[in-house]
């Protein structure tokens, strides 16, 4: 059972139990981070960078330690996301829109927060059950791997284990901090 599996297990359990797993995650973070510590800029999101998505209003977390616009593909948490941003869809970075249910399992990325310099473990839970949101399409692939390693792959519709498996949008939830070396 790899560290990845442990993380997935804990993430899933958290839906019911919400236990702390900080120590495990910091250890894992060092494993995962690797070359991903400095996010790159895939062409796939170039268009979206030019002033955000048209017809979508900007947002702010209101917290200087969580900087950027959560409706922008550039927002720091989205370094391995693939899908429609729930922030544009009636949800938030960590909450699903009305009428959808959060997938209990998903893929995991590690993103560096430009404000505090820390690398955070981000869980990209899909929200499921409403129509596709189709707003704010964003694809970034730092630490993404092919489906042969499912828990690190954003090519999968993670609406599994939900009442309705239809994909609506994706969240980016902080589940821990990784040690930076």
């Amino acid at each position: 059972m790899s560290a990845f599996d442990k993380l997935i297990e804990r993430s899933a359990r958290k839906l019911a139990h919400n236990t702390s797993r900080r120590s495990m995650l910091t250890k894992l973070g060092a494993l995962v981070t690797g070359a991903a510590a400095v996010p790159l800029l895939p062409v796939a999101r170039a268009a979206a960078q030019e002033g955000g998505y048209p017809g979508v209003g900007a947002q702010s977390t209101g917290n200087p330690q969580d900087p950027g616009d959560p409706t922008s593909c550039d927002y720091w948490r989205y370094c391995a996301i693939d899908g429609f941003l729930c922030t544009c869809c009636g949800g938030s970075a960590n909450t699903c829109p009305a009428g959808t249910e959060m997938s209990p399992i998903t893929w995991i990325g590690t993103c560096q927060n430009p404000a505090d310099g820390r690398a955070y473990i981000i869980s990209y839970n899909d929200c499921c059950g409403a129509p596709e949101c189709s707003r704010c399409m964003c694809n970034r692939n730092e630490s993404d791997r092919p489906m042969v390693r499912p828990q690190a792959s954003n090519d999968i519709n993670w609406c599994l284990g939900t009442t309705n498996i239809s994909y609506t949008c994706s969240t980016a939830i902080i589940v821990g901090v990784a040690l930076t070396e």
């Binding site: 297990e9 998505y53 209003g57 200087p64 949800g91 960590n94 505090d116 955070y120 129509p131 284990g161």
Partner: protein, 410 residues
């Protein structure tokens, strides 16, 4: 089979979790109140924060406050390039941030109405294999708090397959019945009992089209011979009386659009050449009132005409908004227009003329917002309370939003 034993890869673990760790009843939070967006400065260098950001809770979904605020609207995106995947989208027309609230599936060119208790009804059609297989027509029932589908009423698989018209599906005046327009090409109305959630009767309306609620339980329908018929119903969906107006619709030379704006019991139908035909539905028989003109003699000479898809919309005070274009003629009635003209039905006078930022094809009035579906299929919002000036645009993720309803389904 021993080879399988050695495969203890990562997926094997996931399987266990997938089966055992699903929580479908996570805590619910009410949506964060939209606040003025103040862009947080991003430091060029990481500054010192003594603690890291905290872990966040998983499994939460928003719920919506009911009744919906007056500024909330329901977009019908019939999604014409993928019509089997239509959507109804709830959004706050005045919000410049956090405007999108959620969505419900629209099936193929659905219709929608909202009861006074807030329950949302969507009439639509599905095939078991997307575009083929068994056809099932339903009235889907959605909870306005979480937009979830809570049930469905199966109705005859005859719903008209056409461009979206508000009057293809309507609740009766007292919310007790629903009317679903059928076209096979035989025309009829399926009557549904809302409280019992069941189909009651199919009422043939040969030669007539769509259903305009009349009185508590009746409806009227526009007919190909230029008249309007009236149908009275009892609680069981039985016909208690049928009436027929005089002829008033000159389909050849000055056809009525089939999209009225409604104030009380009077429907105001625009016509192709720029007149308004009011119809009084307060009695048992639809009664045409005197026609009046939207255009002056000079404007008529310049062929200023109404046009667009949902080309007319009204507020709650007898004022309506209508898309107009110059140089109109035969075949321009769906063109939309560069201006919206504003009329007061009491004085039958134009009270404003709005030059649109972008050419419009449909309009809606929701609270203090004039919502214009523009030629690029995005929604431009004009603030009625601020000199009807352009305010902002809602877009992305909407494809063909030809009809926008109020939060009350009007």
């Amino acid at each position: 089979m021993k080879k399988w034993q050695s495969i203890s890869g990562s997926t094997a673990m996931l399987i266990v979790l997938g089966l055992g760790a699903c929580s479908q009843d996570g805590p619910k939070s009410t949506e964060a109140t939209p606040q003025d967006v103040k862009q947080v400065e991003e430091p060029a260098q990481a500054v010192s924060y003594p603690t890291s950001l905290g872990e966040e809770e998983m499994g939460n979904s928003n719920v919506l406050a009911v009744p919906y605020a007056p500024s909330w609207a329901i977009i019908h995106d019939a999604n014409f390039h993928s019509m089997i995947d239509g959507r109804f989208i709830v959004f706050d027309s005045t919000a410049k941030s956090h405007a999108y609230k959620g969505s419900m599936h629209g099936g193929t060119v659905g219709g929608i109405d909202v009861a006074n208790d807030g329950t949302i009804y969507i009439a639509t059609m599905y095939h078991s294999r997307g575009i083929s297989g068994e056809r099932t027509d339903i009235i889907a029932i959605h909870d306005p708090v979480n937009l979830e589908k809570t049930g469905e009423i199966i109705v005859p698989a005859k719903r008209g397959s056409n461009m979206p018209f508000k009057n293809g599906f309507r609740l009766s005046g007292d919310d007790s019945l629903a009317f679903n327009y059928n076209f096979t090409p035989a025309a009829s109305i399926s009557v549904i009992d809302i409280a019992a959630q069941k189909f009651l009767k199919e009422i043939p309306i040969p030669g007539c089209t769509l259903a305009y609620p009349m009185g508590a339980k009746g409806f009227a329908s526009l007919c190909g011979d230029g008249t309007m018929m009236g149908v009275g119903l009892d609680a069981g969906g039985n016909v208690t009386g049928e009436t027929r107006s005089e002829k008033f619709n000159n389909i050849d030379d000055d056809s009525m659009f089939m999209k009225p704006v409604r104030f009380g019991d009077v429907l105001y139908f625009p016509t192709f050449t720029g007149n308004i035909q009011p119809i009084d539905l307060s009695g048992d028989t639809p009664k045409p009132l005197p026609k009046w003109s939207l255009v002056s003699e000079a404007e008529r000479a310049a062929n200023w005409r109404p046009g667009g898809w949902q080309l007319i919309a009204g507020d709650n005070a007898g004022v309506f908004y209508i898309l107009m274009h110059a140089d109109g003629g035969e075949g321009t009635h769906k063109n939309g227009g560069p201006e919206v003209w504003v009329f007061d039905t009491k004085t039958q006078k134009r009270i404003d003329r709005i030059e649109l930022k972008t050419w419009g094809v449909s309009v809606a009035v929701v609270g203090d917002s004039l919502i214009v579906t523009n030629a690029e299929m995005q929604l431009d919002i004009y603030d009625v309370a601020n000199k009807r000036q352009y305010s902002h645009t809602f877009g992305d993720g909407i494809f063909t939003p030809f009809v926008v309803y109020t939060g009350q389904g009007q």
